[in-house]
Amino acid sequence: MELLFNIVLIVFFAISYVYVGATMPKSSDLELGAEQWPQLLITALIILLFVNIYNIYKNTPAEKRHFKSITGISIPAITKSKLFWGIVIIFAYAFALEPFGFILATIVMFAFYAVLTGQKKPSVVALNALLITIGIYFVFQRGLGIMLPRGLGFLRDIALFLESL
């Protein structure tokens, strides 16, 4: 998997090298141009990534030098891991903030993540999700004047009502 990560990085940086060269104006001989600095960095990066791939190859015992760890990736196994669902919850939360607003999105995210990380008592989950969300909302929104996402539709009306309290 580490090998795959390095290869992905090499491909991304190679594309970036070409892209920056094609989209920035060609610099004159009297300056270090806008495209040259990133290209310099990318060149060094690609060389070091190849060195790293060599190091991975060198440090892997001969009997383990195969691509089974890449080709044998099991999607069902990934979807069973807590890490995968943790990432899903965090991204879903980031997406949900705008339409559902801070309060609803946070209560739901809190409940899911707390259960994911081992909280088994529904009452503890519900109480903490509610109290911590409301507590943080009032500290930041009211105490520090930081506007948090209101949500859309009736959720926005509720948020406006809470702000007016």
Binding site: L32, L48, I90, Y113
Partner: protein
């Protein structure tokens, strides 16, 4: 100088500022003492509180959080063998054995007092050194400023000497990410791939919050770490170190304070390197090295003095040169820049109140954190009973608020989430996140100064680094080269002699 000192204390002792320093200290000690919350993460999580504050109050508040979090980390290191922050790891070597043999209170007392001494010594050093360094830096041109910023990268290879190539890759990725957005000289979009969101570049604060807070929560979700309790945690009574005991360790404390401050000043090297270095130095210098690791008070004193001294040291390059001395300093610097404060050599000349208020807040924090820590150590066994399912999830919410509040848009929350996952991958494959952050923070300074310097020399890079034209640049770059190569060469040398 005296006027500056008085103005600093006037700012810090004003009721509102003082209240925020006390709040920052409480927050810092609690965050620092929580396993899995590093000092950088503590500062990152405290950022949203600082958004609504005046810049001077914000820096005093964040300084309090930073200093107190390092001290707070010693509590769990002693009671549970879990360093609250990585820089408290050497404290576990002797702190936990002392707690096991029923001396938890004494160990905590030594940890708190030596932390305060380290912090105060470093604050004084910062106050005296920063203006001198800034005065010298004002005379610098782009070539010299490029070399000074590049010096910040020279510690890359030392950040993780076992993974030099990976650390350099991470540093270069940071430098690369810093090139995304508007070109600093041409004001044209660069590497944005047509995205409007990327026009303003990669926002540092959500990225740092993601890499420190979200990555850690994901790590805990993947493989939760368990606490090892001494059994004494429920009824800890801190016994402050007396004068006699302190005097007996005067050599250890003095050496560790100086070493910690010096390491802290080095851009990139932070409290973790300082505490390990101080601990190993004391083991080497000791006539009875065998007692270290079995519950020696000197071990706690060395580690805690040095890691707190590094906090003050890290402020020197930040205030004098605009180069952060570590991750937490980088976050603080980003917060100041966000508030329109131009950190760098001119800051101390034009707005000296920043230096004096940082100094005064460090002095005040280091005194009040001893009192606050005693109280927190008493109740901490109860706080630690909060399960990670609640603590970790609360961290996600605070991190989200911190990222969102920056500009009031959810793109930054998305960036935080991406940075969190990327940070997890980097961590899994032993690439250094700290190196990436260092590259990202120093990148704009290095590039802008190098390009200006080359322009001034009519396109000749050789003239920029030549000893005849820019002797300071040459000396600094040679120093950078030596510092970059030292860990590699010393390792090769050690291999050959073995």
């Amino acid at each position: 100088m005296l006027e500056l000192l008085i103005s600093g204390f006037q700012i810090v002792l004003a009721p509102v500022t003082f209240a925020f320093i006390v709040a920052g200290t409480v927050l810092g000690v609690i965050f620092g003492a929580m396993p899995g919350v590093s000092a950088s993460m503590a500062v990152a999580l405290a950022l949203p509180f600082a958004y609504g504050m005046e810049p001077l109050i914000a820096i005093a508040f964040l300084t309090a959080v930073y200093c107190a979090s390092i001290t707070g980390g010693g509590i769990t290191a002693i009671l549970f063998k879990i360093p609250g922050t990585p820089s408290n790891a050497p404290t576990t070597f002797d702190g936990f054995p002392m707690a096991q043999r029923g001396e938890a209170g004494r160990a905590l007392g030594i940890s708190l007092v030596t932390s305060a001494i380290g912090g105060i010594v470093a604050a004084i050093a910062m106050f005296l050194l920063s203006p001198q360094l800034a005065a010298a830096a004002i005379k610098f041109g782009p070539a010299e400023l490029f070399a000074v910023s590049f010096l910040g990268l020279s510690v890359l290879t030392a950040l993780d000497s076992d993974n030099v190539v990976k650390t350099m890759i991470a540093g270069l990725i940071g430098l690369f990410l810093a090139t995304i957005g508007m070109d600093p000289l041409l004001a044209m979009p660069r590497l944005t791939f047509g995205s409007q969101i990327l026009l303003s570049g990669i926002e540092m604060i959500p990225l740092m919050i993601g890499m420190f807070a979200i990555t850690e929560v994901l790590k805990q979700t993947h493989k939760p770490s368990k606490l090892e309790n001494t059994g004494s945690g429920d009824k800890v009574k801190t016994k402050l170190m007396g004068f006699k005991e302190g005097w007996a360790m005067k050599g250890v404390i003095t050496r560790s304070a100086i070493l910690g401050t010096l390491v802290g000043i080095l851009p990139g090297a932070g409290a973790t390197i300082a505490s390990f270095l101080a601990y190993t130095t004391e083991v080497k210098l000791s006539k009875t090295p065998e007692i270290y690791g079995t519950g020696a008070p000197e071990g706690i004193a060395a580690s805690e003095t040095a890691n707190n001294a590094a906090t003050g040291g890290a402020m020197v390059p930040m205030l004098a040169l605009g180069i952060p001395g570590g991750n937490a300093a980088a976050i603080m610097m980003s917060a100041l820049v966000l508030k329109g404060v131009q950190v760098g050599p001119l800051l101390i000349k034009t707005q000296p109140q920043y230096l004096s208020s940082v100094f005064a807040s460090m002095m005040v924090t280091n005194v009040i954190m001893v009192i606050i820590s005693i109280w927190i150590a008493k109740v901490f066994s109860k706080i630690l009973k909060v399960p990670y399912s609640i603590l970790g999830t609360t961290i996600i919410v605070l991190a989200t608020v911190g990222s969102f509040a920056l500009k009031g848009n959810t793109n930054d929350v998305m960036l935080m989430a991406i940075a969190g996952v990327f940070g997890f991958i980097l961590n899994k494959y032993k690439f250094s996140s700290a190196a990436l952050i260092l590259g990202l923070v120093l990148g704009p300074m290095i590039e802008a100064n190098l390009r200006r310097a080359v322009q001034l020399e009519n396109g000749s890079l050789m003239n920029v680094i030549s000893p005849s034209g820019h002797p300071i640049t040459t000396v600094l770059l040679v120093l950078c080269g030596a510092m970059l190569l030292f860990p590699i060469v010393s390792k090769l040398f050690a291999k050959k002699t073995a």
